[in-house]
Symmetry: D2
Subunit: 421 residues, 4 copies
C-alpha cells in the first residue's frame, strides 16, 4: 500500500529554543507520523543570538507531507527552495478555493515575483488577498469575487513572535493560571508594562465585563482613565448598563454596592438606567446634558476614550450606543484595535475571545479573571501571548489604581526634589 | 427628621411556605428597614392547601414604603384595596415614564375597569402595554410613542410560580450546584421530565454551546434529535461551525475527536468548514445537496427542528445561517420559545442567560455545565427555576442517549409481550 | 401490604419562618412520602415574636414514621407528649447500641426524670452520654463500655439556631458564593463582626492554609495578630513551613514573593526552613533564640496566640510543632475552639471542614476562598451558618488590615477631638 | 561593588529538546541574572538520538553562581569536571548540615571514590545518605546523628525523565487541564496504559477520594478491582466510611444514590456505618463475618488489594483500619508504592499530593478531577509527569469499566474465532 517515502527540506531561524519552537517542530513531525532528520542546527550561543535549523522531513504519502508542511509553517519553517506564492481567484463572494491559506496571528510574508511582501492587518483565521504589491489579511466574509487569494503554501513565511525571555518578568506568568500567587506582584508587572507602552506613545485597550462594576471596580477603573492609561474601551452592553445604573442609583444588578445588600427598587434599576439613557438619546448626550455625571462611561466620554459597545443575545435594552449588528461591531472593534501595543482583559470571556481573534501575536495581553478557565480558553484559541492573573477583578483594579497613585507621588516628589536642588 | 410612620396593608395567597415566599416577604421588610405586623395568617393544613397572609407594613417615610411595596409585588403581595392600574402614555419611541412597572418572569395580572387581565408574553424586564382588554409584555425598545404603559404599582398582581414540592424529585436540585452527585440519577430525572413533556405534546428547547462538539456529544445529541426530544435548537455560530467541522473532517477546533490529538490541518479546518457551507449557500442547501451528511445541524434540518443561530463578537465566518443582527436574533429566539414547556441548556453561559431572560418562570429549565459558576449566575439573574447539573456535558449526553435507548427497548418489549399475550 | 396509617403529633416553636424551618419541616414530611396536617400555627406577629407550630404527621408504616421523626428533630420538632430519654449501656469501647442518637451541631436538651438538661460540648455526629445530671457530647471513639448512651428519640429537644434576620447584614451572604460581589463590603462586614466579638470579650479563631503565604497575606495577617484579632490559630504543617520559609528566605514554595519569580535555591528552601526549625527544637525555641524573627508564627508566638498545627499525609518534615497523631490533634483543635464566638477560615478546605465538624451552630463562621466549591462543601456538611466570600485571600487580608488601620485612626482622632473639645 | 565574573562549565545529555530541558536551562540562567554561552551543542538528528550540550555560565558573584548550578542540576546539567560528592555527618537526629542536597523526584547518581552510585528510593525533598556503596533517599525526620549526608553539589548527577514523545498519546494531555475534551478518548488512553502496565506484570495504585462514592462510582470501581487492575488502594477514612455507608444503607452522606434525594436517617448513616465496623473490629473482620458484603472495601479485601487508609483532621470515627498516626501512615503509603508503574488519582487533592511527593518521576500518573485546579496544583508541586483529565469521576469510572468489558468481550471472541479456525 505504501509508496516510496516523500521528503522535503525546511528551514527556520530565530529564538527557536526559548520560544519553544524547536521542540514543537519536532513534536509536529511525530504527531503526523512522519520522521525528521536534522541536517544542520546552529544554536544561539547567547541569549541574544538566533538559532538556525535545517530539517529534512519524510512522510509515507503526499497528503501527510503536505499537511505536515502546513502545520510547520506557523512555527516559522519554510521550504529551502524559495518559490512564489500561488494565487487563485475567488469564484464568488465570501468563498475561496479549497486549498486557501488560512492565516495565523503571527507576522507573515508572501513572495511575489521574487520579492517578499509583509502582509498587512495580520490576524488569525483570515485569507491573504494580494493586489499588486500589497498583501492583506481579509475575513472570509469580505472576500469578493475575483480577489486574488493565496493558496497552497509556497512562498509563505511566518515569523512567530519570539517570546522575549523575561524582559518584563511576564514570561513566568504566561499560561500560568495558578491562584496561589501574590497579586500585588502581578499588578506591579502589569503597571510596568502599561507605563512602558505609554512612554513609547503606544496605545492600550481595555476589554471589560460587567463584573468590573459588580465587584466594585468603577472608581478605580475611572481613575485609570483619568490618568491616561485607557485609550480604547471595548465592552458589551451590560458593562455600560450596570455602570450607568451604578452612577445613577448606586446599585449594580440591584445590589447596593456600598451596603452589599439588595435594596430599593433594585430589580428595576437597570431598566430605569436604560430608559434614562434612551431618553437622553445615548450615552454621549447624557453626559453632555449632565444626566450622567460619573462612572466608567462618563470618564471614557469626557477623556476621549474610543469606546465600542458590542451587543449580544443576552442584552437588555440595549442602550442606543450598543451595536447590535455584530458584523459592524466586529469591524469597529478591529478598527479600534489597529496598532495597539497592549490589551488588558477584565473578566469577560466573550469579548476577550473576540478581541483575541483580531490581534496580531505581537500585542501583549494581560487577562484578569477569578475563573482560571477563562485564561486557559484564551490560550487554547491561539492567543498564547496572554499573561493570566487569576484574582478578584475589583480588588485588582483597586491595587492597580493605588500603585499608579503611589508611583506618581514618588515621581512628583522626585521632580520637586530635583527642582529644589 | 422623621415624620409620622406610614403604613399599608397587603395580602398574599398560595403555597407561601414551601415556595419560601413567606420568609422572603419578611426579609424584604427588614431589608428596607421597615417593620411588619402579621394581621392574619392561615397556614395550608396539608401539602395541597393554600396559605393566606394579611400583613401590615410600616415605614418611616413614603419613599421607603413605595420601594418596599414594589419589592413585595413579585412575591405575590398586593394591596388589600383593589385599585385599577395607572396608565401613562409613552412620550417617545423606546422611552417610558420614570415610574414604569418593570416585569418579573412570573405570571402577572393587571386590573382595568375593575377587571383582571392576564398579561400576555410574560418575561422579565419588560414593560406592560395595555390596549383595550389586552395587556402585553413588551421590550423597552419596542415601545412606540403613545403606547399606554402600566406605571406605579396599583392594580398589579404577580403570581409567583409555587415550587411544586418534589413532584419530579427536582426540587432538591434547584440551585444545588454540588459536584458530588451521581449524574446517572440526574440524567434519569431529566429524561423523566422530558418524557412527561412529550406525553403532554409539549415542546422542548435545547440551548447548546460548542463544548457539546468538543466533548464528544455529537452522536448522542443527534440520537436525541432522531428520537424526537428536540423541538427547538438555539445556539451560536460556533456550535454549528464545529459541528460541521466534525462532520466534514472529524475534528473539532483542530482536535481529532477520536484520536484526541491535534492532527492534519486542524488549524484551518473550521475555516474550511465555513468556506464549504458558504459555497453551498447555507446549512440547509448543504444538507439538500448532500454536502453535509451527518451531525447535529444535519439531524436538526432533516428532522424539522426549529433552529436559530445567534451571532456574537467572537464569531468566525459567520455561517450564512447565523443572524448577526442581534435584535432580529433575539426576536427569533423569543418567537421559537413561545409555549415551550422545558429548556435544556448545554454548556453555554451566553445563550443560556439570553434564553433565561425570555422565559416565563413556569418553564422547567435544566442546565448542564462542568463549571458550577454558570448555574449560579443563571439563578442570580432571576431564572430561579433552574435545576443545575455540574458534570461533563459529553458524558451527560452519552448517558442520556443510553437511557433513552434502554427505556425504548423496555417499552418495545412490553408492547411485544402484550401483543403476544 | 399497607397496614393502618400511623401518626404522631409534634410541636416546634421559634423563628420558624425566617429560619426557613417551617418549609424545611414540610419538605421533610413529603420527602419521606408521609403526609402532614397543621393542627395549629401561630405566626410571630413581628420580627421579634416567635411562631408556634403543632403538626400531625402520618406515615404508612412504623419505620417511615420513626425515620421521619428523627429527621424532624434537628429542625426543632419534638413530640407533644414529653417523655424521658431512653438510655442504654455501651457494651464495648467505641461502640454504641444500633439505635443511638447522633447529634447535630444545634443546642440540644435531653429530659431525664422529668427535667431538661442542656447537653455540654455540643457538636455534630457525636453521642450523648448521660452521667447523673450531666449530659455531654462524646465522640464515638471516646465511648467506654458501660457509658449510658441516649438512644431512640424520646426526650430530646433540638434548638436550631434561629438565623437572626440581617443583624450584621450577613444573612445575604450565607451560602451565597457568587464571585460578582464587591469584596470591600464583605471585608467591612467581617471586621464589624470581629469588633463586636472583641467588644464582648469573645475569642476569634482563624483557620489558615498555606495560600495565605503564597498569595502575599503574611504581613497583613501578622498585623491582625498584633491588633489582637487572632486568639486561636489552627492550621496544618504547610502554613507554618511556608511562613518560616518566607521569613527566612523571602520565598514561598520557592517563589520570591516580592519579585514573583522562582529564584535562588527555591526548590530546597522549604526543606531548609524545616531543617532550621528542627535544629532550634521547634518554632517557640526558634523565636526565643532569635532564629525566627518575623511572620505569622513569630507573631502568634510573641502575642500569645493559641496555635495548633495538625499533620496530614502530604506533609514534608514535619516541623516538631506539628501533631502527627491526628486523634491528639483533633482533641487539641476541639479544646482550643471551646467557647469561641467566631471562626475565620482562610483558604483551607481540609482544616475548615475539620473545624466545622467541631463547632456548635451558634458560632459565626466566615470562609474566604477563591474557589467557590469550598464554601459549598462546608455548607453541604452541615456548617450552614457559614458566610462565604469568594476572593483572593491575599488581597482580602490586605483589605482587612487596611480597614483595621483606617478604623483605628478614625477612633484615635475622635478621641483626640473629644479630648480637645 | 561587582567583583570579577565567575564562570563554570556544565554538560547535559539526553532528549534535551523534546523534554523542554534546553529552553528551561537557558531560562534558569536568565532568571538568576547570569549569562550563558553555548560552547557545544549537538542536536539529536532523529527522534531517537540524544542531544549533547556544553554550556558556560557566568555570574557576577559566587552566591549566584552556586544557586544557579544548584537549579541546573535537576535539569540534568552537571559540571564537566567530575568530582566526588562531599559528605558531612548529621550532628543530631532530624537535622542536617545547612548545605545539604535536597533531592528531586528524578533518578539521581552520586560519585564516590570515582564510582557512580544510583540513589535508592528516589523521591523529592529527601536527603541522600551514603553508607558504603549504598546511597539512599531518606526523609529529614529519619536522619540519625552520624549519618553521612550528601552536601553541596559536587558529584551529583540528575537524570530527568525524558518525556517520551507521544508514545501513548498522553504527551498532549500532560498539564492540559481543558474541560473541552472528549473524555471517552482519555478513558481509552488510560486503559491502554493500564493494560500495558499489567502485561509487563507491573503494579497499579489507585488513590481515591469519597467523591468516588458520592458520584456513583462504587460499582464501576469494584469492577476494576475484580478485573485485576487495582493492586494498591490509598485513601482516607472518608472513602471507606462512605463506601461502607453505601454498602450497608444505600446512601452516601445521607443521599440515597439511586433516588438522588436525602432520605431516611441519612444524617446518621455514616455514624451507624462506623459503629457497625467498630463492633466488627475493623473492615477485614466485617468482611469475614459477612457484615460487609459489597462495595470498594469489600472487593479490595476479597481480592487481596493492598489498601492503606490515612487519617486526617476532618475524620469522623475513624474506622479501626484508619491510621491516625500520620508518620506511620506516610511510611505505609511509601512502602505500598514501592515499584508501582502507574498511579490513578481519583478526586482527592490531599492524598494525591501526598502520593505525588513519594513517587519517582518515572511513574506514570493520571489524575481525574472535576476541578481543574487539582491537576494544576499537582504539577506545580513537581509531579510534572501527571496527565490530568477534568471530568466527572463517577462517569469516568462508568466509562472505564464499560471499556474494560468491551475490550474483554472482543478479546474473548477473537480467541474463540481463532479456536474455531
Amino acid at each position: 500500500m505504501a509508496g516510496p517515502d516523500l521528503t522535503e527540506i525546511v528551514e527556520a531561524e530565530g529564538h527557536l529554543v526559548d520560544s519553544q519552537l524547536l521542540n514543537t517542530i519536532f513534536d509536529k513531525v511525530i504527531e503526523h507520523q512522519a520522521r525528521f532528520e536534522v541536517l544542520h542546527f546552529t544554536i544561539g550561543k547567547t541569549n541574544d543570538e538566533f538559532s538556525q535549523l535545517r530539517l529534512k522531513v519524510t512522510a509515507p504519502e503526499r497528503a501527510i507531507l503536505l499537511n505536515l508542511l502546513e502545520d510547520l509553517m506557523p512555527l516559522g519553517c519554510h521550504p529551502v527552495a524559495d518559490r512564489d506564492i500561488y494565487l487563485a481567484k475567488a469564484d464568488r463572494d465570501g468563498c475561496v478555493p479549497d486549498d486557501f491559506y488560512s492565516t495565523t496571528n503571527h507576522r507573515t510574508y508572501v513572495r511575489r515575483d521574487g520579492r517578499w511582501l509583509e502582509v498587512d492587518d495580520q490576524r488569525m483565521d483570515a485569507i491573504i488577498v494580494v493586489d499588486g504589491n500589497k498583501a492583506t489579511c481579509r475575513l472570509l466574509r469580505d472576500i469578493k469575487i475575483g480577489d486574488a487569494v493565496v493558496c497552497g503554501f509556497d512562498g509563505i513565511r511566518v515569523s512567530p513572535d519570539f517570546r522575549e525571555r523575561d524582559r518584563l518578568g511576564f514570561a513566568f506568568m504566561t499560561n500560568d493560571v495558578s491562584t496561589e500567587r501574590r497579586v500585588e506582584v502581578s499588578v506591579r508587572k502589569t503597571l510596568t508594562m502599561m507605563r512602558e507602552v505609554k512612554q513609547d506613545s503606544g496605545r492600550i485597550a481595555f476589554v471589560a465585563g460587567p463584573v468590573v462594576v459588580h465587584s466594585g471596580g468603577v472608581e478605580h477603573f475611572a481613575e485609570l482613565i483619568r490618568n491616561g492609561f485607557v485609550d480604547i474601551l471595548l465592552a458589551g452592553n451590560a458593562l455600560a448598563v450596570h455602570d450607568v445604573e451604578h452612577a445613577l442609583f448606586g446599585t449594580s444588578l440591584g445590589i447596593d454596592l456600598d451596603a452589599g445588600v439588595a435594596v430599593k427598587e433594585g430589580h428595576k434599576n437597570h431598566m430605569r438606567a436604560i430608559n434614562t439613557i434612551n431618553r437622553a438619546g445615548g450615552l454621549r448626550p447624557a453626559v453632555e446634558d449632565g444626566v450622567l455625571r460619573s462612572g466608567i462611561m462618563y470618564e471614557a466620554i469626557t477623556h476621549g476614550v474610543d469606546y465600542v459597545l458590542a451587543g449580544s443575545i443576552r442584552d437588555d435594552g440595549p442602550l442606543p450606543d450598543t451595536m447590535m449588528d455584530l458584523v459592524a461591531a466586529q469591524e469597529r472593534y478591529a478598527c479600534a484595535l489597529k496598532g495597539v501595543k497592549m490589551v488588558v482583559m477584565l473578566s469577560t470571556m466573550l469579548h476577550s475571545i473576540g478581541v483575541g481573534n483580531m490581534l496580531p501575536s505581537g500585542v501583549r495581553v494581560v487577562c484578569i479573571d477569578i475563573n482560571p478557565a477563562v485564561v486557559t480558553k484564551l490560550s487554547d484559541r491561539g492567543s498564547s501571548q496572554t499573561a493570566g492573573i487569576v484574582t478578584d477583578v475589583g480588588l485588582f483594579l483597586h491595587q492597580l489604581a493605588t500603585q499608579v497613585r503611589t508611583y506618581q507621588n514618588t515621581e512628583i516628589n522626585t521632580v520637586r526634589r530635583e527642582a529644589d536642588a
